[in-house]
Each structure stands twice: as structure tokens, then as C-alpha cells.
Symmetry: C2
Subunit: 529 residues, 2 copies
């Protein structure tokens, strides 16, 4: 028996090796299926530079660049959105402090290392992150040799990605920073190498660039470029999602954070769908205005009093839309590179009872291991989709003790949406990627007779949309009352934005995810050893 | 190339088949590793009977019993706790109505079918569930032939388990119900067959029985017996956790629901750890008093005014403790039979800032696919544990839009616990199952130098405990203030129980879970096809 067991084990392991077509090959070559996502040219924002160098942060990495610098020639406006994890990595703490002290102004850019997350590393970790920023600033003459450097507020943000709980080999990194500075350049190749050097288990570099115009100066061409690497259920073992976005449009420091914050929920926050909000998640946005005509003021959001529409109102609206779309495309690339993923799945939920409900339902489906394994198995098991809709956190606080439930019901007031999802108004369909007709699985709470052959056909495609309608049919009298009451309560409390979509005709939440394969388990079971 | 690909596929599939030692064999034989969990004898409560029969609910099931009746000879007190999923299955709706109409009194027991969940089946489903109850009652002469039977409140609860979205083959089931009735008996064999017949993908029947006494009549022997089947991340594809518990102690109908409800959070609600709260989850509890001396009143909880301690106070306290322990052991059997599971993992979280925080943290770790795949891979990747602590829902609402966060912060008030988990007070250890010393991974937010060989040794064991201390070190002044403020707020609002543990010296939450293996993906990717 023993030899047989051994040979089975070997066969199993060999088989798994063979089918790992979706994870990073050891030599960092890009799998054929992913080549189409890697650009061969680009248009990059004026005045921004990218450079990389080799530090060998991971001892096993003897040749690949793992230190990346993305900077503006002139200090510029910058902002960041960061993980809400309680265990924030040192670079997150240091970068937030920098942005806060500089009030989003006078920033140089970002220094990144891959191979080690510098997370849960105590005081030493914080010092190291600060050193990375300072050494980058020093390359630009911002820090005087022998000067009172500890008291200088850095101009550079810091990002790290890799294993949690290990100290950075900081000397290796400080040695590599001047080399990355020397390597700075503006070509497509520079940007692509930067996008590659921030990767960890990613199978391809994720880089996008495009041009746009703004209404006030339709003849001026602006550029935006950005890179990202994976995280969450997507690339969770490296515990990090990073994003760096640069534009040569001119955005006021007072407005750049608001702009980034507004674009985040429906882009990067619509893919971190498994709750694996890491210790390091960071998306940074820089605007240096290098392409703006000299006479053009920086774009600003109108002030709160609202009685003096700002000159740049139309521009900033257009800029926000550009950023929304750009960040959406960048975020989707992360899903395309999901660990072990064989499918790209769009979850679209329509609701007439508030955006938040729709988003919670979409997120719940996207997080369900049962839905994701069924998609991997090409199984039209729509019962699992229904089940995930029905237990969506916030729809029903299912995992908490009864006492907590009671307490929530007392205090949550209008945020308690447990009466909002009504089975009799719920419909679910598969929407094929090829534009052919949707396949209805459930209509107003009643199961359809599903054409299994057609379902199989749709599930064979790489791209798939699951469409959920929570608004299929008229509201009951009590639902209408509830929606009205919530709107009144909202006005009473003086909250205009948070639940503004309540009572609106329709809202739609979209979350992007991938399937859940054997290979995911292999990658994440084997990772550290 | 084609032949090679085929052969690899075959090898892969063959290998997976061979290593599926943890899921149900086709012939329903019990795997050797699980034999130890199956009792060979038992002591069953007086006056309760169990019987099974074959209906063939699944067309492919031509020989195994799939209809189960567990009943009391005399009508008795009964209660149920049910799924909070919005899409409640028909048997859940019908059973809740029965309990409500009967005020937990005059119940006969339960009728169960496996093979089909009767969930999302519309009106027809509700009718079918009602028919199952009525046909069972008819066996006991409760329903007169040709009588006004539709208006009789049933005495029997209904449970179904299996695929969602398919109608029951109700004629097969109504045909099998009288046969299950004829097969009723009190022997160990009857109970074991019943525990087997409610199973779906379970690899072994989960049955426990034991005896106990109560303080008022120390010479009287009472008995409690129960069976369960899996659900959640554990056995999610059948979309159901079912539990049936019977005792011959005498519990007042007015108190039986409270007793069941109080025992649920730390037992069955501490294993449904992935949020996969199904459409069918039901745990029912029956007490017929058949072993109680004639002069003994039914046990009751003291009334709310509290000035007349009830005669049975000591008894009902002891009964509650018996039920707690019994339900805990039953629930743990479900984890032992997790789909593809190779490990039984106890997550224990200690907190001095409230039980709810501890429970949320424990649940978050238990749900993390990253932690579970690392355990499967025997990888001491404690960074993932930290990460899961840091994003625990309720600790930090990470997946919701910023606007929602703002709204929650405004309204959640004292329930907003985001300041409660302080990295500097957090420690994490592995506690080996063999009683040897714990292995410290993180102490007060600082990583330990981990002995990897020792970690590997611990991770080789089937049982493992992850111990998290959120209270390792003194509170900061602001934390003490927060705890005090919350207690005052709580008193002001007149809530005594929900957050009663706030400010207590220490509370502890325990959640049981299993690891996450290749086989889980295989089972759930293949399931329906």
C-alpha cells in the first residue's frame, strides 16, 4: 500500500503543478492568457518619473527589481486612501501622517518595496518606513546631509507589500533607493518596469494610461496613468492591495483627497470583496498640473455654502468622472489576476430601496465560498446565490448573539434594513458575456425551469454577470411606508448624503470578483513554507 | 499535446477521488477516522420514539432512508430556533407558525426529509410542508379522515434538507410517513438510524445521549438525546444545519423557548462561522416530562419582577447548564465532519472590553479563507490571524462605502467598537491539543521569534487552539473612559443584558471551525452536476 500512496501523492502534486496556469511562474514570465492585459505602449503624465532597482528584500530574490520610485519633478498635490484594518502597517501610519502634516500639498511621490509588508513590526517598523521616505527625499536634495533631518516632514509616501511580521532589511532598501532614483525615466518601459516591481504573486504587471480633456480648455491634452497590484481574496497572501495614480491635471490640494475618496467605493472598494482588508492597502493619487495652461487655477470642489459656483465646477466634475472610470478599469485588472481564478464575475444588484442594500447584497454574493466554488465547477447552483442574498450582513445580522441583535434593532434605527429584501420582489439571472439573452433563474421569488444546457454554455465563458433585481414588482404598502419613514428620519437627523438614495427610483451596485479554485487553496496553503 | 492533457486531467481527478477520505463515501460507510464519533449505545429519553423510512426524495437514492420521525408519545413542550436568512424555506415558515399558534405546548415532535430543502419553492412549497406535518399528525389520530383538517393547528414541526429551488416529491414523502410511524421505536438502533437518515453529505451520523439529575430530586434520572447534521462552511452545499434535541425532564412551555435561545449563541451559533446562514437552519428542542415525578411542577424561569424566586430556580439553572453543554458537544460534531476538513480548530478570544468584541474577532478569524488555507497547509502564518482580527466586522466596517461608515458612526453610538482592539494589548498563541506549552506568536503587538519546528509540530496535530488575548496589558486612560461611558449610556437607555459584559473583568468567546482544503473546493465545485 505504501508505494501506491506515495505515487498517488506524487501524481496529485504533479497534476496541481501542471494546472497552475493562472499563478505566477517562477521566472516571472507572463502567462499567454494574460498577455492581452499588458500594454505595449502608453501616454504618461508630464513631469512624472518612474524608476526601479534591486534590493533583494526577500533573500530568495537575487535578480528582480523590488524597489520602485514614482515621483513628480516638481512637488505636487497628493492624497491617499488607506486600509481600515486595526493592525495598520508602518508605511500606512507614516504616509497618513505625511499627508496630514503637508495638507495634501508639496508632495514628491511614493517609494515602494515588495517582498516584505513591514506590518506588525513595532517601533522599528515605523522608523524604517520613515527612513524610506527620508532617503527618497534626500535623492531630491530635500534632506541636507547632517541637517536636522528627523524634524523635516517628508515629501514622499511609503508603501510596502509582502509577508506580515518580519522586519525590513532596511540597509538593502536604503542602498537601492538612490539606484531607483538614478534609473528614473518617463518612457513606457520605465512605467512598465515600475508596475512589475511592485508585484508579488501577481502574474502580470497592471498598468493603464490614457488621455483626456477638460471642458474649460478643450484643446489641452491631459494624461493619467496608474499601476496596481492585487490583494484581498484576489491576492490575499501578500496581504496588500497597492495603487498609484498620477495625472498632469491641476487639482487643488484642498480637493484632491475628496476626489480620490469619492472614486474609491465603486472601484477599489468594489473588489476587496472578502473582507480581507489587509494591513497595508493603500491607493495614492498625485496631480502635478504639469499639463495645465499657466493661467488655469487648480480645480476645486465648490465650497459648502454653495452660493458661489466655482469657476472649475465643470472641470472638476469631468475630472471626477475620468478618475471614476480610470480607477474602475485599474481595479478590474486586479480581479483579472485573482489567485487561481478562472473566471471574471460581475455581480450587479438593482434596488429601489437604497444603494447600501444593493451593495451589501452584491458583496455577500461575491464573498460566498459556495457561490465561487460553484462558478469554478460551472454549476448553475443558483440556490447558493439566493442563500447569499438572504444572509447578507446588514440585511440580517446573522452571526451575532441574540442579545446583540436586540441591541442593534434598538439603536440602528433607520439603518436596520432587514425588511428591505423581499423574496417576492427578487429576481436573479445569468447575463452572458457575449451579449446574448439573459438566463432567468428566479423570477419574483419563484424558481424558473432552467435550461441546464444553456446554463452550462454560459458558465463555460470566462466572463459572466450575475444580475440580481431586488425591485422586481411593486412595493408593498409597508415597504413604501418604511422607505418614507426612513427618508423623514434622515431629514430629521440632518443627514443628506449617507442615505440619499433611499426612495430614489433605482440604484445599482456592482462588485467584481472571481471564482474559487483548487489552485487558490494550493497557493494559500503552500505560501509561506 | 491533447492526449497528455487528458491524461493529466484523469490523473488529477483520480487523485482527488483517492484522497477524499473526509467526505461521504457513495455507499454511506463511515470512514475509519470518524468511527470514534459514532456511539454504539445510548440512554434515550423516556416517551420519545424515532423511526425512519425510504421515500427516494432524490431520484438517485433507491435504498437509503430519507424520511425521519422523532416524536413524543404524549404531546409535549417544544421550541425552535431558526435561520435568519431572508429566504426562509417553507418548513421554517410552517414550523414557526405552528410553535407560535401552539405557544410551545401540545407538540408531538418533528418530521424530516433529506434530499430536497423545499426552499424557494413558493406557495406549493408551503403547502407541501404543511402536508408533511398533517400526515404525521394523522398517524397519531390527530387529524380525522375527512375532517376539517386544514383548520387544525399541527402538532408536528417540519424540517427539510437538500438542494434549494426544487419542489418536493410530496407523494413519495406522504407515502413514506406512515412507514416511518410504523417503524417507530426507542432502541439505540432506532435513534442511530434516525440520525443517519437526516444526513446528506455528512460522513457519519451525529448522535449524543446522556443522563443528568436536577437539584430538587437528586434520585431521579433524566435523559437528554439529540442528533444533528452539518451546514454553513461545514456542510454548506446542502444548505442546512438541523438539530433535534429531546429530554424527559419537565420544562414549562412558557420557558422552553427562552432556554433554547439562551443555549444557542455559544453552541450552534458558534460554528456557523462563515455567514452561510442557510435557508433551512433549524434546531428544535422538546421536553415531555416523562421522567419527572408526578408531584413535580414544570420548570420555569423566575418572572421578571423577581420578588418571588420560583420553586424550580435551582432546577432550571441546572437544566440550562446541561443543555449548554449538550448542545456544545452536538455542535462540535458538525465541525468534526466539515467538508474536506482535516483539522478541528478552536478559536478562543479573551477580552476585557465586552463579549461582543471577542465574539466578532473569533468569528472573523474562523471565517478567513486565508487563515483556513494556511492551517490546511500547516503554515504558521500568524500574520493572517492578525489581519483577520484587524478587519473583524463591527470592529471596523471595512467593506462599506465611506458614507455608510459616517452614518454608522453617527448612529451606532455605543455599539461602535472600533477603538476597542488595540494592537499594543493584543497577543496571539497556538495552544497545542496535547496540553504542552502554548507557542507565542505575537505578544502585545510585537512579533515573537517563532520556533518554526515547534510550530510545524503543533500544526501536525488534528486539534489546535488559536488563543487571542485582547486584554494583554493595562487599558489606556481613553479606553477606560470609553468603557465607563458605554456602561453609563447603557444604563441610561435601560439596557441591562445586551452589553452587560462591558467593564467586566474578562469575557471569553469561543468559536469552532475547521480548515479549508482542496477537497472542499472539489466537493462544492462538483456538487450539483
Amino acid at each position: 500500500m505504501a508505494p501506491k500512496t506515495m505515487s498517488l501523492k506524487r501524481a496529485f502534486s504533479a497534476t496541481l503543478q501542471q494546472i497552475r496556469t493562472y499563478s505566477a511562474p517562477g521566472d516571472r514570465s507572463i502567462p499567454a492568457a494574460k498577455q492581452k492585459y499588458v500594454p505595449t505602449s502608453g501616454t504618461y503624465p508630464k513631469g512624472f518619473l518612474a524608476g526601479t532597482s534591486h534590493a533583494g528584500v526577500k533573500a530568495s530574490n537575487t535578480k528582480y527589481d523590488d524597489v520602485t520610485m514614482v515621483v513628480s519633478e516638481e512637488p505636487c498635490a497628493g492624497a491617499g486612501v488607506f486600509t481600515r484594518n486595526v493592525f495598520k502597517a508602518a508605511p500606512v501610519t507614516v504616509s497618513r501622517q505625511t499627508l496630514s502634516s503637508r495638507k495634501s500639498d508639496g508632495l514628491r511621490g511614493v517609494i515602494v518595496n515588495s517582498g516584505c509588508a513591514n506590518a506588525v513590526t513595532g517601533k522599528k517598523g515605523t522608523e524604517d518606513a520613515a527612513v524610506m521616505a527620508r532617503e527618497t527625499d534626500r535623492c531630491f536634495g530635500e534632506v541636507q546631509a547632517g541637517g536636522n533631518e528627523d524634524q523635516t516632514v517628508p515629501r514622499t509616501l511609503v508603501m510596502s507589500t509582502g509577508v506580515i511580521g518580519q522586519q525590513l532589511p532596511i540597509e538593502k532598501i536604503t542602498g537601492a533607493i538612490p539606484k531607483a532614483h538614478q534609473a528614473l525615466g518617463t518612457s513606457h518601459d520605465h512605467w512598465l518596469k515600475a508596475a512589475q516591481a511592485i508585484c508579488t504573486t501577481d502574474t502580470f504587471p497592471k498598468l493603464i494610461s490614457r488621455t483626456f480633456t477638460l471642458p474649460s480648455h478643450p484643446d489641452t491634452e491631459y494624461r493619467i496613468a496608474g499601476m496596481t497590484k492585487g490583494a484581498g481574496m484576489i491576492h490575499p497572501n501578500m496581504a496588500t492591495l497597492l495603487g498609484i495614480i498620477c495625472t498632469d491635471a491641476k487639482i487643488a490640494p484642498s480637493s484632491i483627497y475628496d476626489m480620490l475618496r469619492r472614486s474609491t467605493p465603486n472601484t477599489f472598494n468594489s473588489i476587496s470583496i472578502d473582507g480581507d482588508t489587509s494591513t497595508n492597502d493603500t491607493v495614492a493619487f498625485f496631480a502635478n498640473g504639469a499639463a495645465a495652461p499657466n493661467d488655469q487655477p487648480a480645480m476645486e470642489f465648490p465650497s459648502d455654502d454653495g452660493d458661489s459656483p466655482h469657476a472649475s465646477s465643470a472641470d472638476i466634475t469631468a475630472m471626477q468622472e475620468t478618475l471614476n472610470s480610470f480607477m474602475g478599469d485599474l481595479a478590474k485588472l486586479v480581479v483579472r489576476d485573482g489567485e487561481g481564478a478562472t473566471k471574471f464575475v460581475t455581480i450587479r444588484v438593482r434596488s429601489d430601496i437604497g444603494f447600501l442594500t444593493a451593495k451589501r447584497v452584491a458583496t455577500s454574493i461575491a464573498r460566498s465560498a459556495l457561490v465561487k466554488t460553484a462558478l469554478y465547477g460551472k454549476d448553475a447552483n443558483w440556490g447558493r446565490i439566493l442563500c447569499a442574498i438572504g444572509y447578507a450582513p446588514g440585511i440580517i445580522p446573522s452571526t451575532e448573539p441574540v442579545d446583540s441583535l436586540r441591541s442593534r434593532n434598538l439603536h440602528l434605527g433607520m439603518d436596520d434594513s432587514k425588511f428591505q429584501v423581499v423574496p417576492e420582489r427578487t429576481s436573479v439571472s445569468f447575463v452572458p458575456a457575449d451579449g446574448s439573452e439573459e438566463l432567468k433563474l428566479l423570477v419574483r421569488g419563484e424558481p424558473e425551469r432552467v435550461d441546464e444546457a444553456r446554463a452550462k454554455e454560459i458558465l463555460e465563458m470566462e466572463d459572466l454577470e450575475i444580475l440580481v433585481r431586488l425591485d422586481d414588482g411593486p412595493m408593498s404598502a409597508s415597504q413604501r411606508r418604511e422607505v418614507k419613514d426612513r427618508r423623514i428620519e434622515q431629514e430629521r437627523r440632518g443627514i443628506s448624503r449617507p442615505l440619499a438614495s433611499v426612495g430614489r427610483k433605482q440604484s445599482e451596485a456592482v462588485v467584481w470578483t472571481c471564482d474559487f479554485s483548487h489552485e487558490y487553496v494550493t497557493i494559500n496553503g503552500d505560501y509561506r513554507t
